[in-house]
């Protein structure tokens, strides 16, 4: 996983920032179906959380808003380390460049979502907008949340 993340980061850094979001990540060993296909029911639940909480900023197509809100399509954060990804949802995020591009808005904390809701929405994100990588389980969110609190 670490290697995959490093590879993705390198890829993201090498590509021209503006094109980064459109550039397809080569189908390397992305853990596509390591955990099996994601069920339609989980995707529907994840989508509902997305529409309620994330859509305004990241948009229905997950491509974000120029200069303001980053895309959720093939970014190193979405495809990368799950703990880092879950922590963004728990803590929010501001002032970080995303794959070389700055964004001016901020992301609030969504720590009030349940472990299951966070797992579902991230599973939905990681299987949508051109992403195709492993699901996030509620148990994983629980562990990451506990570590995040320390």
């Amino acid at each position: 996983m670490k290697q995959l993340f490093a590879l993705l980061t390198v890829l993201a850094l090498c590509s021209i920032p503006a094109a980064a979001q459109k550039k397809p990540v080569p189908k390397t060993k992305a853990k596509t179906s390591a955990s099996g296909a994601v069920s339609g029911a989980v995707l529907a639940k994840g989508k509902a959380v997305y529409v309620q909480n994330c859509l305004t900023c990241h948009q229905a197509d997950g491509l974000g808003v120029d200069e303001m809100n980053p895309p959720l399509s093939k970014t190193s954060y979405v495809l990368g380390d799950k703990a880092r990804l879950v922590n963004i949802i728990l803590n929010g995020m501001q002032g970080q460049d995303i794959d070389g591009e700055p964004y001016r808005n901020l992301m609030p904390s969504f720590s009030t979502l349940t472990d299951q809701q966070i797992a579902d929405v991230l599973t939905y994100v990681r299987s949508s907008f051109g992403n195709k990588t492993s699901a996030v389980q509620a148990a994983e969110v629980k562990t990451i949340r506990a570590a995040n609190k320390k």
Binding site: Q52, A60, D61, Q94, R104, N105
Partner: protein, 427 residues
């Protein structure tokens, strides 16, 4: 200016071949593009693409000699944040130089000076008789140390005719919540942001290194103003505010997503020194035509705000992001446009999941220095198609406005960096 020699040719596609040669012959002939640069305009108007800058072209200004200065949001590959374009043929222009090692939004020129802002400071450069900057590496830093916390960072600028500079300092927040943009989070009492942001500050144009201590908080309670201009008829500053976001996201029990897409209006304010427009305590509801208490401060969509806050001078569709305001004083356009306001709407994102809106330039008629009558869309289709606009995936986003010496209206686009010029076919 050889105004009498200047001719505006609005070419019907069939005539292009025969007339384009003619257009090349003289510098003063302004030839509209056969497709009017892809824009939809009222009858008699035409448009051309003056230049493709490839940068995020925020605001722009045109000197009496017709030189165009464009402020880029970020420095280009040469590390420069201001482009200088010289007129070439057919009404177009070519990049002839660049200066300033900072990104930003604001740019403004008088006959003698070019003013430009980064997201923290304002600089000025002496212009020579040819409208050129002679010492690009030695600007005077007239304002410094303005707050920039990324959100609402643009330090848009304008001047009055008495040596004062007006600078927007946007609030680095949506509604001054304890936790910015977080669901249900309450507004901070006596919003502390207003001490150093969320308003318009006034400085002198000719003093160096001014900051908060030397400036005047001219007007407060303005969330973020990107478009502002001085109205010489009313001798008054007018500004366009970007209204608050996310009523539904943060207060789903009080607003549905349809209401959230239509609330609040984007507002035009006529300001006097000391005015307070009420952010973050209120928003303007264009249907009820009332100032409503924000839910962060106990509002529920029905309670009106109380307090000494000014009313808007005019209201426009929610979240459409007015990024430039220009009072038209030229004589090229028909009489009805004289002293009226053009407003560039950058386009929305906060209307989702409802269709997005904006990506056009609006005309607001004025009479005796006050808005008079309904506004209309003047230049449309920067997005490229209605579908692209609705999806919030426009090709171009109008961001800056400037008037040329002949009365042409220039529009900058901060998505692709296209510079447009709109002309009228006067006989």
């Amino acid at each position: 200016m050889n105004r009498s020699v200047t001719r505006y040719l609005l070419l019907a596609p069939a005539l292009v071949g025969s007339l384009s040669l003619l257009a090349l012959r003289s510098e003063t002939i302004v030839a509209a593009d056969p497709d009017n640069a892809g824009l939809k305009l009222p009858a008699g108007f035409g448009a051309l693409k003056v230049a493709e800058t490839g940068g995020r072209a925020r605001h722009l200004t045109v000197t009496p000699q017709g030189n165009i200065y464009v402020k880029l949001n970020r420095p280009n590959a040469d590390g420069k944040g201001i482009l200088m374009l010289r007129p070439s043929s057919g009404g177009k222009a070519e990049v002839a130089g660049s200066l300033g090692n900072y990104g930003g939004t604001g740019i403004y020129s008088t006959k003698d000076y070019l003013y430009a802002s980064s997201d923290e400071a304002v600089f000025r450069y002496k212009l020579n008789a040819q409208g050129e900057v002679e010492s690009p590496a030695q600007p005077e830093k007239i304002v410094t140390g303005l707050i920039n916390r990324k959100q609402h960072e643009s330090k848009s600028i304008t001047l009055d005719r008495e040596g004062n500079l007006y600078v927007n300092i946007g609030a680095y927040s949506n509604t001054c919540q304890e936790q910015d943009r977080q669901k249900g989070s309450k507004g901070k009492p006596h919003c502390p942001i207003l001490d150093s942001a969320g308003g318009i500050w006034q400085f002198r144009t000719d003093k160096l290194n001014q900051s908060y201590g030397q400036g005047v908080r001219y007007a407060t309670g303005l969330r973020n103003v990107v478009g502002l201009d001085w109205n010489t008829q009313a001798n008054q500053l007018f500004v366009m505010q970007h209204g608050r976001d996310q009523l539904y996201d943060n207060f789903p029990a009080l607003y549905n997503s349809k209401q959230s897409a239509e609330l609040p209006a984007e507002c035009l304010y006529a300001l006097k020194k000391g005015d307070n427009a009420g952010w973050p305590y209120l928003y303007y509801d264009p249907q009820q035509k009332k100032k409503m208490l924000n839910p962060e401060y106990g509002g529920d969509g029905k309670k009106e705000a109380t307090g000494n806050y000014i009313d808007p001078a005019a209201a426009y569709p929610a979240h459409t992001a007015p990024n430039a305001l220009l009072f038209y004083t030229g004589t090229m356009f028909p009489e009805k446009y004289r002293n009226g306001a053009f407003i560039a709407f950058h386009g929305s994102w906060n209307r989702a999941p409802e269709p997005q809106k904006g990506y056009y330039v609006v005309f607001q008629p004025f009479k005796n220095g006050k808005p008079s009558g309904p506004w209309e869309v003047f230049a449309d289709n920067f997005a490229g198609s209605a579908a692209a606009a609705a999806a919030g995936r426009p090709e171009h986003k109008p961001c800056g406005l400037a008037q040329g010496p002949d009365g042409s209206l220039y529009v900058s686009d901060d998505r692709k960096g296209t510079i447009y010029r709109i002309v009228y076919n006067k006989k």
